[in-house]
């Protein structure tokens, strides 16, 4: 009986502070306009012992009730939109609701990049390339592309060294941009890899806590370009460094 008593104590459950969390999601179409109906976004809350889900109403509002004190990741999904995450959100709980303020979810761009090429501009003192991508679709407005650079062929929006955005004017098939390379990051003689994704003109991201890389969440991860590569050419040191 003593043993029973002792063992029984361990079965007591301790409750921590809990409270309400209110958040808002705004949906953006391909032209960066926000929609009037923000419903249907599914939010998965990671970090609890059981699965927590919520969804947005027309105003884009979602509520999680009785959320316990702790640290959570929020994953935002809606079909046709790029997934977004808010990571490591600390929630205390209590009498007043906490909030995650406004989150945007961007429509997946439907532009397909058909080809990608890098050519050396053969500059004397710096490494510079011209990147040309072709998309056979006719677009009626500015279209944006996010490109990633790496020294590994396993390049993607999750695995890269640097990234930036290029854009093209409406109605054109070609997307070209000038790319200057930092030879400290990409040494002479090494191989440079490049990949592009169509994107909205948004800079929203979350950070991967293992790699420290920014994961941008307005790109269409399902429409990557092919991977292009080029060897970093030798350049002369400028006269002031000789």
């Amino acid at each position: 009986m003593l043993l029973l008593n002792v063992a029984c104590e361990k079965a007591i459950e301790y409750e921590v502070l809990s409270g309400q969390l209110i958040g808002y999601v705004t949906l953006f179409d391909n032209n960066q306009n926000n929609l009037s109906d923000n419903s249907g976004v599914e939010i998965i809350v990671e970090g609890s012992n059981h699965q927590i889900k919520a969804s947005t109403d027309e105003d884009g509002q979602f509520i999680v009730d009785n959320l316990k004190s702790g640290i959570y990741n929020f994953v935002f999904n809606k079909e046709g939109y790029c997934q977004h995450k808010i990571i490591s959100y600390q929630f205390v709980g209590g009498n007043k609701p906490g909030t995650i303020y406004q989150t945007g979810l961007y429509s997946l761009s439907d532009i397909q990049i058909d080809s990608l090429e890098i050519t050396d501009l053969e500059r004397q003192y710096n490494v510079a390339f011209m990147v040309t991508a072709v998309s056979h679709q006719q677009v009626n407005s500015f279209s944006y592309y996010r490109y990633y650079l790496s020294n590994e062929p396993e390049i993607s929006y999750k695995n890269y060294i640097s990234t930036d955005v290029a854009y093209s004017f409406s109605g054109t098939e070609n997307i070209s941009f000038y790319l200057e390379i930092d030879t400290l990051k990409f040494p002479v003689g090494s191989e440079l890899y490049l990949i592009m994704y169509p994107t909205s003109e948004a800079y929203q991201f979350y950070t991967d806590i293992n790699s420290g890389k920014k994961i941008y969440t307005s790109i269409n991860i399902y429409k990557p370009s092919e991977v292009a590569n080029i060897t970093i050419p030798e350049v002369e040191a400028p006269w002031w460094l000789k």
Binding site: M1, N5, V16, I22, F91, V92, N95, K96, P97
Partner: protein, 245 residues
Amino acid sequence: MKNNFTRLILLLILFSGCEKSELVQLDLKGTIKGEVYALDEFGFQNSDNENIVIQLEGSEPLISIITDSTGQFEINDIPSGTYNLIILKEGYSVYQIQGVQIVGGNEPLYFTGSIIEKSSTTIESLSIEIVNSSELYLKCIVNHNFIIDQWSYRVPAIRYFIHNLSNPSDINYLQTGTVSFTGDSGTQLEYRIFAATKLFPSGSKIYIKAYGCYGYEYGYYDILSNQYKYSSLGTGSNITSITIP
């Protein structure tokens, strides 16, 4: 029989005692050290920093404290939780920071805030007219008691709120904007405004109310309504309405 029965009772006593699920609070207390600046209706510091009330809405009993003559305050022993921090002073717009989370522990949280005086501008005869079949002109008379010259940095303005419901206000609106003004008290203002066609399509009726205000954005975010609450608003005007052509 008797032995078994008593054994059963004993077992029941044993297990009933241990079924408790206790509410155990995170046993930390927090501190907020801060200062608040009072601003006049033009956004300039006016040194009226004493006796500003700071409250933590959500605390039970309500935690309320006032600033000293330099505008500084310190709140101790705040239980872990989430609060709306409210700053109040007579003659000034209420200012809030909502959803403030307090964990508690050894280090204090540092806070700096400001409150702004309610505008002394009053508005008379607010009306709205259609000009050129598509342009809307907002008209009113502004009454004030300050001197505005081209060298001062005072930016008085009026802020209007538009809704398709008959009771627009600073807490009930779909669209808002400001109109800066210069000129003496009693001047009539006339200003072209644009009603967003997505919100107010052709044929819909819009209602407008306006308030004297500080010319730049100043306010706080309200979580429950997902709206920005503008501060520095004076007494409101009449409500006027028109049907969008």
